[in-house]
């Protein structure tokens, strides 16, 4: 099996090297996907959209990145049922690309938050991370716009269809239902505000991030 994972790079992405190195540390092969280029689907088994400030968060977080050539490829890749994970700004980009439901608003107190959080698995994703419901993991968050929002009907719809992936154990940013991550209906596209690539070894403070990469294979 091809163990290559595509990692997108936009102007302003800043977790690109961290995700790239996390993948390498697990003896998998990362491959850069430049924002201005399309890519061939046979080259990569999965795509990860790392966090950061693509286009400086201008206009809206993720809005400009969603309109780039690489995201056209990602959209098609996802429509074929292939796995796509967006982390933090990557999650915002997937929402802006209409690949995931909902939107991410500024945190309730309008401030950036950096801290470790406990997460609970609401529904397993077929591709990324642990699968057994109720399991909890500890990962760092670092975001200014992490408040997941949908209207009440939308929230009921994604809950009914099992699209809520992770929830925060504690309300840190005002997200509806304390939602930290969601999936598309098909569960091959997933978005997560916390950063698994920052929890890869004990010296980082935890190793719960590993399974988000290894579970693909």
């Amino acid at each position: 099996m091809n163990k290559t994972i595509g990692v997108t790079r936009f102007p302003g992405t800043n977790c690109d090297f961290d995700v790239f190195e996390a993948i390498q540390s697990l003896d998998l092969t990362p491959k850069w996907l430049w924002y201005g280029d399309h890519f061939s689907f046979s080259d990569v088994t999965a795509v990860i959209i790392p966090g950061g400030f693509s286009y400086g968060d201008y206009l809206r977080c993720g809005a400009l990145a969603a309109k780039t050539p690489v995201m056209n490829s990602v959209r098609e890749f996802a429509q074929r049922g292939l796995p796509v994970l967006g982390i933090c700004n990557g999650f915002q980009i997937l929402c802006e690309s209409q690949l995931l439901p909902g939107t991410l608003l500024p945190n309730r107190d309008s401030r950036f938050i950096d801290q470790w959080v406990e997460l609970k698995l609401v529904n397993g994703c077929r591709r990324f991370g642990p699968e057994s419901k109720g399991v909890s993991v500890r990962l760092p968050v670092a975001h200014g716009d992490g408040r997941f929002y949908m209207d009440a009907d939308g929230q009921k719809r994604i809950e009914d269809r099992g699209q809520v992936w992770w929830s925060y154990q504690e309300d840190i940013n005002g997200s509806i239902g304390q939602i930290a991550g969601v999936m598309n209906e098909n569960k091959n596209v997933a978005g997560l505000m916390p950063h698994p690539e920052r929890a890869m070894t004990s010296w980082m403070g935890g190793t719960d991030g590993k399974s988000f990469f290894t579970s693909l294979f």
């Binding site: 102007p11 302003g12 800043n14 977790c15 090297f17 961290d18 190195e21 996390a22 950061g52 400030f53 286009y55 400086g56 968060d57 201008y58 500024p106 309730r108 107190d109 309008s110 401030r111 950036f112 938050i113 950096d114 801290q115 760092p140 670092a142 200014g144 950063h195 690539e197 920052r198 890869m200 010296w203 980082m204």
Partner: protein, 744 residues
């Protein structure tokens, strides 16, 4: 006096005022040029001879920072100091002030302070991997102070987080002396991995091209350097137009693209455009390289077409770089920048001779040797008095404030903004981007893992203003000793330091005396610790309407440790460990208390600092070495240097992890006075003998070891003096929050 002379004199006076030059400086310029300055020359001398650019009041004394060792690859003179860590790894680091702009516009002032110091680092070819900041505010509980705190923290957060460099540590102080002159000092540290080149700013190679990269030039920040070289009157807000606006997204693009062209060998030399903009970068590059430069100012990309040549030369628009490139490599260089969405424009070339020749619309408007501008600024020997112990603000006998209700005193300290948690600040900073952070801003020493060798790099800031208010000489020693001791308590060997010397008006004798005493003591301490001061800056004129700040020589000290594992925590991590106090008592400081319900102040009352004794550098060095030996040998599970609120406060902080302690101290021993220096160590019971043996083997260090008690339980108990549940310590400690109003 005839009318003509009077008019000429009036014109000269108004020119001097406009360009912030003194009559004596004018006369020196006339002497250098052999004639009166004309046209843009006025602006050039104004900028490059400003205190900010020329260090004219401090240069004489900064020469005392002369201690160097083999590890120093670059020091003062380049954009940042560089030290060799061995194994191919090298780091560049520097701290710089952005005080004046941050008071006028806190968000942009702080943000561009971060941006500027980052450019100093990646200009040399190092990838920035850490930021830290040293902040001082007034202690008034007013909307103005809160908005300054909030704006500065948001500015640092907004810029640092976006650009993708973690802010890993910091220090925040409150005192009335900073009310009209806040301090915002930003430190950046960059890493050269084994094959990365170190770049310099020396222009070289006649015929090479001068290339402008980055943001277009606008009207912002014109005359910023000379603004920062003046005291505030009652009109600080009128200086708003001299503030720069930062764009961290642009900076991120510059970091990636510049590091890429450097790695590909496409750059001869490079300099960022910081204070005094294009003028200082171009003049410094020519002067350092010993070559001439011809610049065509009309080729500079502009945001505003009405800018005059003088505006273009002095604009401090952010996120701009000037580099020298061989003509045949330009196409490739331009290609890299274009891939990142940036434009690279040739605006001049390196020419023979030594002159900088400035052209505008087909005419040479100024042709001048840059050396007198860059190196020929006047050097002032401002008057000062030699430091004596009698210069101390307050002297005391060996006494401390009464400690009749220690539980109440402790809880008050924990919930005051001085003694409380800084989480409300640092949680707004991304501390982990880059995936190297081993210990974040919640710890006393920030730790990063070096990716190639797996070794640990420690970073900690120094300078404790309460000691500077007591005695500038002792405070100057402490500004290096304390951070070095904090590093040692985590098993780090201190390697080198940077400093940011924030002082008041150097034209006042008492301020200059403090400055000289501080520099002398910093220099001696650096030598005794074998920790060279390799970069830094001086910020004078932190004065408003005659009132000066506490002299504040902020420092940043870097240390190295062989492994990332086994670093002692700053909280008790296991029950049943022995609690030890390792002491080299030399100086006792007392006088700090918190009155959290005081009406108008944020923080502590500082009745007046009482002090007794003098620091011996040799004895401090002995303590530092001994502590490091213990922590490197894995004998210690938790460690904390006893700081400004004394032993009880240090033990309380160590209990906040959830494991308490039961200790006994002498009945007459102060709980809240600070003995310089003491370190609390928690060691496994089985290691106790080895710890004692180590200390005995270092008898010449003259250290005292007290066995205080042991860890465990859910209370902190100092027998016969206080007993408090950790829960209430924590509630008080975490209650601090100086957030401004929430914006939805």
């Amino acid at each position: 006096m005839d009318a003509n002379f009077e008019t000429e004199n009036g014109v000269l006076n108004s020119q001097l005022k406009q360009y912030r030059l003194s009559l004596a400086e004018y006369e020196k310029i006339v002497q250098v040029l052999g004639r009166a300055p004309k046209g843009v020359e006025w602006a050039l001398f104004s900028a490059l001879w400003s205190e900010h650019c020329s260090y004219k009041s401090s240069r004489l004394h900064l020469r005392k920072f002369k201690y160097r060792n083999d590890q120093v690859l670059q020091s003062m003179g380049e954009n940042a100091g560089v030290i060799d860590l061995g194994k191919g790894e090298r780091i560049a680091f520097k701290m710089e002030s952005h005080n004046h702009p941050s008071f006028i516009e806190p968000y942009q002032g702080a943000a561009t302070g971060v941006g500027g110091i980052l450019r100093d680092i990646f200009t040399m070819g190092a990838r920035p991997i850490a930021l830290a900041n040293y902040l001082c505010f007034g202690d008034e509980k007013s909307a103005k102070q809160i908005s300054l705190v909030d704006g500065v923290v948001r500015g640092i957060s907004g810029y640092g987080n976006c650009v993708g460099v973690p802010t890993v540590t910091g220090q925040v102080e409150f005192h009335s002396s900073y009310k009209q002159n806040i301090l915002v000092n930003a430190l950046a540290l960059g890493l050269f991995r084994p094959n990365d080149p170190i770049l310099t700013s020396q222009a070289k190679g006649v015929g090479n091209w001068v290339v402008y990269v980055g943001a277009k030039t606008g009207r912002d920040g014109i005359h910023g350097a000379s603004m920062a070289s003046e005291a505030f009157g009652d009109n600080a807000q009128s200086k708003k137009p001299t503030i720069q606006i930062g764009d961290p997204f642009y900076e991120k693009l510059l970091i990636e693209s510049c590091l890429e062209v450097m790695a590909q060998g496409l750059v001869v030399s490079i300099q960022d455009m910081g204070a005094a903009g294009l003028t200082s970068s171009c003049f410094e590059m020519a002067a350092k390289g010993g070559v001439g430069i011809k610049l065509e100012l009309d080729r500079v990309p502009l945001r505003d077409r009405t800018l005059t040549p003088e505006d273009i030369l002095l604009s401090e628009s952010q996120e701009r770089m000037l580099l020298i490139c061989e003509p045949h490599r330009f196409a490739k260089l331009k290609g890299v920048f274009e891939r990142w969405g940036l434009d690279a424009v040739v605006i001049g070339e390196v020419v023979s001779g030594r002159d900088v020749d400035l052209w505008w619309r087909g005419e040479s408007i100024c042709k001048i040797d840059p050396r007198p501008l860059v190196d020929g600024a006047p050097v002032y020997d401002r008057s000062y008095e030699p430091w004596r112990v009698k210069s101390r603000v307050a002297q005391a006998k060996l006494t401390v404030l009464p400690e009749t209700d220690p539980e109440k005193i402790l809880l008050n300290l924990l919930q005051s903004p001085l003694g409380g948690s800084r989480k409300w600040v640092y949680r707004q900073y991304d501390q982990r981007v880059g995936a190297k952070t081993v210990r974040d801003a919640s710890e006393s020493v920030a730790v990063l893992r070096l990716p190639d060798s797996g070794r640990a790099l420690g970073l900690v800031l120094g300078c404790r203003p309460h000691l500077m208010r007591f005695d500038a000489a002792e405070g100057g020693k402490d500004a290096l000793l304390y951070p070095a001791l904090e590093l040692a308590a985590k098993g780090f060997q201190p390697l080198a330091a940077t400093d940011c010397l924030n002082f008041g008006n150097p034209e006042k004798k008492e301020i200059m005396s403090e400055f000289v005493a501080t520099v002398d003591n910093l220099a001696q301490t650096a030598e005794v610790l074998e920790t060279p001061i390799i970069s830094g800056n001086v910020s004078f004129y932190n004065e408003t309407q005659g009132k000066n700040i506490t002299s504040t020589p902020a420092t940043g000290v870097v240390g190295l440790r062989e492994q990332v594992n086994g670093i002692p925590l700053s909280v008790f991590s296991r029950a049943g460990d022995e609690v030890l106090l390792l002491r080299a008592p030399m100086l006792l400081i007392s006088g700090l208390r918190a009155e959290p319900n005081a009406q108008n102040t944020l923080a502590a009352t500082e009745s007046s600092i009482l002090g007794y004794g003098t620091l011996s550098l040799k004895r401090a060095r002995g303590l530092i070495d001994c502590v490091r030996q213990l922590t490197q040998d894995d004998l210690v599970t938790a460690s904390r240097v006893v700081g400004k609120f004394g032993l009880a406060y240090a033990l309380a902080r160590m209990s906040l992890g959830g494991i308490g302690a039961r200790v006994r101290v002498g009945e007459d021993r102060t709980l809240f006075g600070e003995w310089l220096y003491e370190v609390v160590l928690a060691v496994p019971a089985a290691m106790l003998n080895r710890v004692q043996a180590t200390i005995r083997s270092r008898a010449e260090d003259d250290l005292l070891l007290e066995h205080l008690g042991s860890t465990g339980g859910v209370d902190l108990e100092i027998m016969g003096r206080l007993r408090l549940p950790i829960k209430s310590l924590r509630q008080n400690y975490e209650a601090v929050n100086l957030h401004g109003p929430t914006r939805e």
